[in-house]
């Protein structure tokens, strides 16, 4: 009876310890993400390509590394990731027109997907004729193929996401050391 109690006590302690380890892994991941965002001066320093509009340069599932330094102007030919105010999903397209305005220190950009026949004017909607700097999340600096495909699969099949999360959690709880 006494030993059983002790065992249960140990169990709770063990479980809590596991939960703490799991939490610290998550927290350090988030920390690294935020630190990278700080260094690159962008809200999302790494994005996954979701559409084929930049093929053959970028395919679905490729990983892009972004920077958005305030003293660097965007130039034509740069590949930008931008988010429109009325749309949630960021878009990766190339700048084909850049109009700088020294008096208001802003830029007006027109973008186009390499694989699209038309530029993005129709995407912007009737109220916007061009992108402003504030619409742009960052400029693509680095490229790593395929690695982001996991997130696409997990998004397409949400059950898989829960199964994976549950499995990981279970593994973290069961595994000792």
């Amino acid at each position: 009876m006494d030993s059983l109690k002790q065992l249960r006590k140990m169990g709770v302690r063990q479980i809590l310890l596991q939960a703490l380890t799991f939490g610290s892994v998550l927290a350090s991941g988030l920390m690294m993400w935020k630190a990278l965002g700080l260094v690159c001066n962008t809200e999302s320093p790494i994005v996954v390509v979701l559409s084929g509009s930049m093929e053959p340069a970028f395919k679905r599932g490729d990983l892009l590394f972004l920077t958005n330094f305030p003293n660097e102007k965007f130039e034509v030919g740069d590949i930008t990731v931008y988010k429109l105010p009325h749309q949630g999903i960021p878009i990766v397209h190339r700048v084909i027109e850049a109009h700088d305005d020294s008096t208001v220190l802003d830029q007006f950009l027109l973008t186009k997907g390499d694989n699209n026949p038309e530029d993005d004017k129709s995407l912007y909607g009737s109220r916007m004729k061009g992108l402003k700097r504030s619409n742009v999340i960052g400029r693509v600096k680095g490229f790593l193929p395929y690695v982001g495909y996991v997130t696409i699969v997990l998004n397409d099949f949400p059950q898989l996401k829960y199964a994976l999360l549950g499995g990981l959690g279970l593994l973290a709880l069961i595994q000792k050391e």
């Binding site: 030919g77 027109e97 004729k129």
Partner: protein
Amino acid sequence: MHSTYNRISTILSHASTALMVLLGLVAATSYLTLPSAEPGTVDVKTVQVYQERYRPNEVAWVRFDLDADLRSLWTWNTKQVFAYLVVDYHDAPNSTLSANEPGADGAIVEGRKAENSIVAWDRIIRRQRDGRLRIEGGRNKYPLKAVGKKFFGAEPFRARLMYNVQPWVGLLTYGEAGATKNVLEWPKAQSAMQ
């Protein structure tokens, strides 16, 4: 390393680290040993500016000759090269920048002098043997629209051939492969293109 599962997971986790190191090495060396393209020639032959009916902005069409060799840009880490012809010019002072309509931002400032760069033509080059560009009498793929409504009166323009090297893994790089030798004047608009 005591069980099958343990050995698989240890080896695979080491292997993924090793793969990242390998790709890092590839990216670093290809960035450090970056080739550049020999400067080619860019020649703008004709410029025509049109004022379409009921459209506020003038549109320009150019004819150009290109002669450039981008084959030197291919290394073991080159996925494709994006070549593009850029037209650069400054707007005339006091022209309005219509990219930013009053509804979108509201800030219309007098005396602005916008600096414009527009891609007139581009090409995705996927194979090294296609990297030899020789174009005569090429026409712009995209209409050059005067954001300040008019080209006439704007400062003379130049055109330059740029390239963007897209690696299999690593950093994207940019470079110039030729430009027009002298600046070119914008002509007066001809009215109503059919």
